[in-house]
Amino acid sequence: MSIVPQPTFLALDWWALGPVLALTAGTILLLLLEFLPQRANGNRGGIVSLLTFLASGYAVWRVAGEKRELFGGMFVHDPMTVFFTLLFCAVGVLATLMSWDYLKRTKINQAEYYALLLSSVLGMVVMAASNDLVTVFLGLELMSLALYVMVGFRRSQLESNEASLKYFLLGAFASGFLLYGIALLYGATGSSNLAMIGAFLADTPLATNPMLLMGSLLVFVGFAFKVAAAPFHMWTPDVYEGAPTSVTGFMSAGAKAAGFAALLRVALRALGPVMVDWTQLLAVIAFLTMTVGNVTALLQGNLKRMLAYSSIAHAGYILVAVAAGGPEGASAAVFYLATYSFMNIGAFAVLTMLGKGREERVLMSDLAGLGFREPLLGLALTAFMLSLAGIPPMAGFMGKLYIFGEAVKHPQLLWVVVAGVLNSVVSVYYYLRVTVSLYMKEPEGEPVGISWGAPAVLAIVITLAATLWFGLQAQGLWIQAQNSVMGLL
């Protein structure tokens, strides 16, 4: 931590801090508003949270081209912060839209839900903007603590509570590793500022220092847990299955993107000089993560569980890009995170509409024949599955193309690229199983009721448009992704 005071606090800095201030104010406002009576059918929480996300996005977009370091270099406003803040605001808006009717029909429509959503997004923003191990830790905990509660939000339901307990115990365990790793890094380098650690490591050859190695390893374990990389992925299927569907959609996109944003910052900015030694280890972990995720997903009959294993597999693809390293690898990872967020939230938005009242119909067999009864919904779900499988012209294909295209430039990563492509082929099987269920299976038992709601439909339309647009016109987002990692190196 450098304690050089910022000479002045410019108007620009207020805009740069806008998302943090707006999200904090929104959280407090939502809780205070609970003192006032609300109309029986109103959704004050949803409206406040939508406005807060839009205000946050506007604030950071207004000063998008600037670069500032605030609070003694602990919080940076740079292109990467802007990119991820906009992404998290979009994820927040989509999560609000798909929660809108889902919460009402499952009878958990309480303002605390949206307050927790806002503070969780706040944690993500802090993680992406952090330039100091202290802020990384604080952001991560802010995000996670809110998510532990959101996962257990259906608190009278045993599965939700169990998921919450598992996520909490394992998440806190991983935080312990991360924190001890931070302590060791601080001890080895004498600073907790990412840039200063990077500068120290560039001057002092410390690559074999056991304290540095142990510290980096423990920090990596902490992140691997948050992004669900093997062998620290065990919690994912249980938590995704037990959590309310809207929360699963939110955390599968937001928490993963935030975890990778902080991981990229730490890996490139602080540990950049020693990253070369890590390439093979990261490649092995990426290989394990992809394979475990894809092979286990083949066996799942529950869509939420299947998407949980698929999200593990996607973490593996992104880790290939992290292993490739450098600005190209990082921008491929950033691009993939953005496209993955949209397509995955889209798939979960469709799932929130399946079932009437409090019931949850997310088994593969529940989809049988749905493609003909609800053609538009079936088509949307098919599109998201094709994108997740990485089939052109969807965004998922472009994401994989960039990742494998960058990784293949490093000869020592060739094997993991081949494994990744084979993995994508395997994954097509279980994504297409969804389509087969939609169109080629006869429904058994009572057919699934669809809870239509305008906000959820809007969320599906937005994500579908983004999935198609980023697939056909990937160049624009790719340039943004490249810009965003420029400041890191």
Partner: protein
């Protein structure tokens, strides 16, 4: 003056006790206490490093960690209390609805 290595050794021992506690104990509350032990082991390491390097950064870090740990206790105990209300158990072996 106590050498820094001694404090670090103690912190490493506390951390390992915490990790082993999480892995072998089956009571959610005891697991949770073990996790707190891990956080406090990190705190001890921070303080030791801060004194070794004559900088206050590490000591400030400890305040942040204590705040976070307090928030974690609030959330964690609420989850465990809710679990006990629903299931009348806090043993993680008996909490096995979700699997596959």
């Amino acid at each position: 003056m106590i050498p820094t290595e001694w404090a670090l050794a103690l912190s490493a021992v506390l951390f390992v006790i915490g990790v082993v506690g999480v892995l072998v104990r089956r009571n959610a509350l005891v697991i949770f206490m073990s996790i707190e032990l891990m956080l406090n082991a990190a705190n001890l390491a921070f303080v030791a490093f801060a004194r070794q390097q004559n900088s206050l950064d590490g000591q400030i870090f400890v305040f942040f960690v204590m705040t976070v740990a307090a928030a974690e206790v609030a959330v964690g105990l609420a989850i465990i209390v809710n679990l006990f209300r629903l299931r009348e158990t806090v043993f993680v072996d008996e909490i096995n609805l979700l699997k596959g």
